[in-house]
């Protein structure tokens, strides 16, 4: 029996399990880097974790906030630059896996993280695609994660290539290494994979106590379901302990994590204020 764990912990650990020992693995910021750290400290110590700023073979001290975060540059093996990361490493076929977060995805694994249409009809900037377009194009395999992103029937803007209209379309364009593309999408509720022939996304596993109907209610097309569903992995105590120490935030939903952080900061500030006032009082006393 493992100790109790949250939905958020389950998704991070499920993603971590996709990374194998020895993988050259490019990680996006957020969930992917936390998953990478778990993998490196459990089943995949020999995985080479990489960030697109050119920090290659790192082991983060704390969860990085951006892709050149100094918490990843205290000890790493190869300092290349971004241009070399994309050309000499990704384009030349040395990237086994890319792990990327999703803002919007369609049924063939195409992604949009550039613009969405706002409620008033304007093109509203999401974040921009960063390195995702080239990584999903040239990594041998791409692992996708989706926490607060969305499934859409038609993308308003295609920033990162999945399988386009499905079938052999990606392969036949001649622009991509054979066999590349998204292989799995992991969300807190379900795991999705892509059909070998049609390249259409299908439901492959349900998280504990989640129904297929609930998953389908978020998806604006007729979702196909695997003949036989697989199971989410069961986290080990060691994985949970590492995760809780490494990234306490990742164990909660964003809103709960924000609330806990805000309360903690206020408490800390109040203590500091009290400390400063005690110092001030002591100084006044000493001078009188």
């Amino acid at each position: 029996m493992t100790k109790p764990y949250t939905k958020q912990e389950l998704i991070v650990i499920t993603v971590a399990r996709q990374i194998q020992d020895g993988d050259n693995c490019l990680l996006g910021i957020g969930l992917p880097t936390v998953a990478g750290a778990i993998a490196k400290h459990s089943h995949a110590p020999g995985a080479r974790l990489m960030m697109e700023s050119g920090i290659v073979d790192f082991d983060p001290l704390v969860p990085p906030m951006h892709i050149a975060d100094a918490c990843c540059s205290e000890g790493y093996s190869y300092a290349i630059d971004l241009f070399g990361m994309f050309t000499a490493i990704a384009h030349c076929g040395h990237l086994d896996k890319a792990v990327l977060g999703v803002a919007q995805i369609d049924r063939y694994g195409n992604l949009n993280s550039s613009y969405r249409t706002s409620s008033t009809g304007e093109q509203q900037r999401i974040t921009g695609s960063g390195g995702a377009p080239e990584f999903i194009s040239y990594a041998k395999e791409t692992i996708l994660t989706l926490k607060s992103g969305e499934f859409v029937y038609e993308l308003p803007y295609l920033s990162s290539p999945g399988y386009f209209g499905g079938g052999r379309e990606r392969e036949e364009s001649g622009h991509y290494p054979p066999g590349s593309g998204p292989s799995i999408l992991i969300t807190p509720e379900a795991i999705f994979r892509f059909d070998t022939d049609t390249k259409e996304m299908y439901l492959s596993a349900l998280a504990p106590s989640v129904t297929a109907e609930k998953v389908m209610s978020r998806i604006p097309w007729d979702l196909k379901v695997a003949d036989k569903l697989e199971f989410f992995p069961v986290p080990t105590d060691a994985e949970l302990t590492f995760l809780r120490r490494f990234s306490p935030r990742s164990c909660f939903s964003n809103s709960v994590a924000d609330e806990l952080t805000l309360n903690g900061t206020i408490e800390k500030m109040a203590k500091r204020q009290a400390f400063l006032e005690r110092c001030r009082a002591a100084a006044v006393e000493a001078s009188s």
């Binding site: 050149a68 975060d69 300092a79 630059d81 241009f83 550039s114 613009y115 921009g128 695609s129």
Partner: protein, 350 residues
């Protein structure tokens, strides 16, 4: 030719007023780490206008410059939403209000424009997959010049290309530099070198100014040579609240405050009144921080040392003459040389 005898050390105020002009194109040299925020705050304080900004990861640099009404156009691959998903960012607000035009690139294609500029080429090939995306197909303010397509003369294949970018001015913050302008940086490199070398003018701020001899013994850390740099500004905590390896971590307290203000419409401007406009320089910014939060809070973000292994550049042969004063290959001393020159040399006759 530039003679190396003059110091380029000056204040941020002087550097920005001398080298940053309204309407120019400005690139943030640092990728995401070590943002040149002391210099950026000075640009805002001097109310520079009509700038086009290259900011790859649209971090705090772009947020503050946009909120300072300095920027009309932005080349971007990513925008960090400091106010959270719902709170959004100043970039988003300005864009929606029609006050800012954004051209959408990817990290690589953005970098490739600067790599072309740095190399003196007019364009740079990029990877073919980009042609299948809307990043390629949809055009913003650069229109037809966003991407092009050429044919490889060797394979006959279609190759997408980006135009070279040569910004007027690059702002860069580094760990250390000498007074001549040799700038040394270590940590995540991103597109920093290309951003600097592509630019026509470069202002470097640094945590420390070191002897030229320090630079000569660690040339692997020099990312821009002195002859390309226009100004050196000593600014301790010059990237705060962002981090810089070897000096300080990201200030999570300050970041929390910025996120809080950024989530509110007009909030960032309020914050900037206190932290940018009402303070003359970075030293007073740090003083203001200490007065508000206490020195122990600032000190808690100082880096714990993690030294790079010393690099031995030494060689055995320092001279072609041995300790006894004999040439190591001809096995002669200087007196022998004088004699040999008379005997065997091709003497110049007068």
């Amino acid at each position: 030719m530039e003679k190396r005898n003059t110091s380029k050390v000056m204040t941020a105020k002087e550097a920005v007023s001398r080298f940053v002009k309204d309407g120019e194109t400005l690139v943030v040299g640092n990728y995401t780490e070590g943002s040149p925020l002391a210099l950026i705050f000075e640009v805002i304080r001097q109310k520079k206008k009509g700038l086009t900004l290259f900011s790859q990861s649209g971090n705090m640099d772009a947020e503050f410059l946009v909120a300072g009404d300095c920027i009309d156009r932005l080349y971007s691959a990513f925008v960090h939403k400091w106010g959270g998903r719902a709170g959004g960012s100043m970039i988003e607000r300005y864009q929606m209000a029609g006050k800012l035009e954004v051209e959408d690139y990817t990290n690589f294609t953005y970098n490739a424009m600067l790599a072309a500029g740095a190399a003196g080429y007019s364009y740079m090939p990029v990877m073919p997959a980009i042609m299948d995306t809307d990043v390629f197909k949809k055009r913003g303010f650069t229109g037809d010049r966003k991407f092009g397509v050429t044919i490889c003369p060797f394979t006959g294949k279609k190759v997408p290309v980006v135009p070279a970018a040569n910004p007027d001015i690059c702002l860069l913050h580094v760990q250390r530099a000498d007074k001549f302008g040799n700038a040394q940086h270590w940590g995540g490199l991103g597109s920093t070198v290309h951003a600097c070398l592509a630019s026509k003018k470069i202002i470097v701020s640094c945590e420390e100014i070191v002897d030229h001899e320090i630079v000569r013994s660690s040339p692997h850390h020099t990312i821009v040579p002195d002859f390309r740099v226009d100004a050196i500004v000593k600014e301790p905590w010059g990237a705060h609240p962002m981090e810089l390896p070897g000096y300080y971590s990201t200030d999570l307290d300050m970041l929390g405050i910025i996120s809080y203000f950024n989530a509110i419409e007009g909030g960032l401007k309020q914050l900037m009144n206190e932290w940018v406009y009402n303070l003359p320089d970075r030293a007073s910014y740090i003083q203001h921080y200490i007065e508000n939060f206490g020195k122990p809070v600032l000190d808690s973000y100082k880096a714990k040392p993690y030294y790079s292994a010393p690099t031995n550049y030494g060689i055995g042969t320092h001279s072609l003459w041995d300790d006894a004063g004999r040439n190591i290959s001809m096995n002669v001393n200087l007196e022998d040389m004088d004699r040999l020159i008379i005997e065997k040399g091709d003497l110049v006759n007068d």
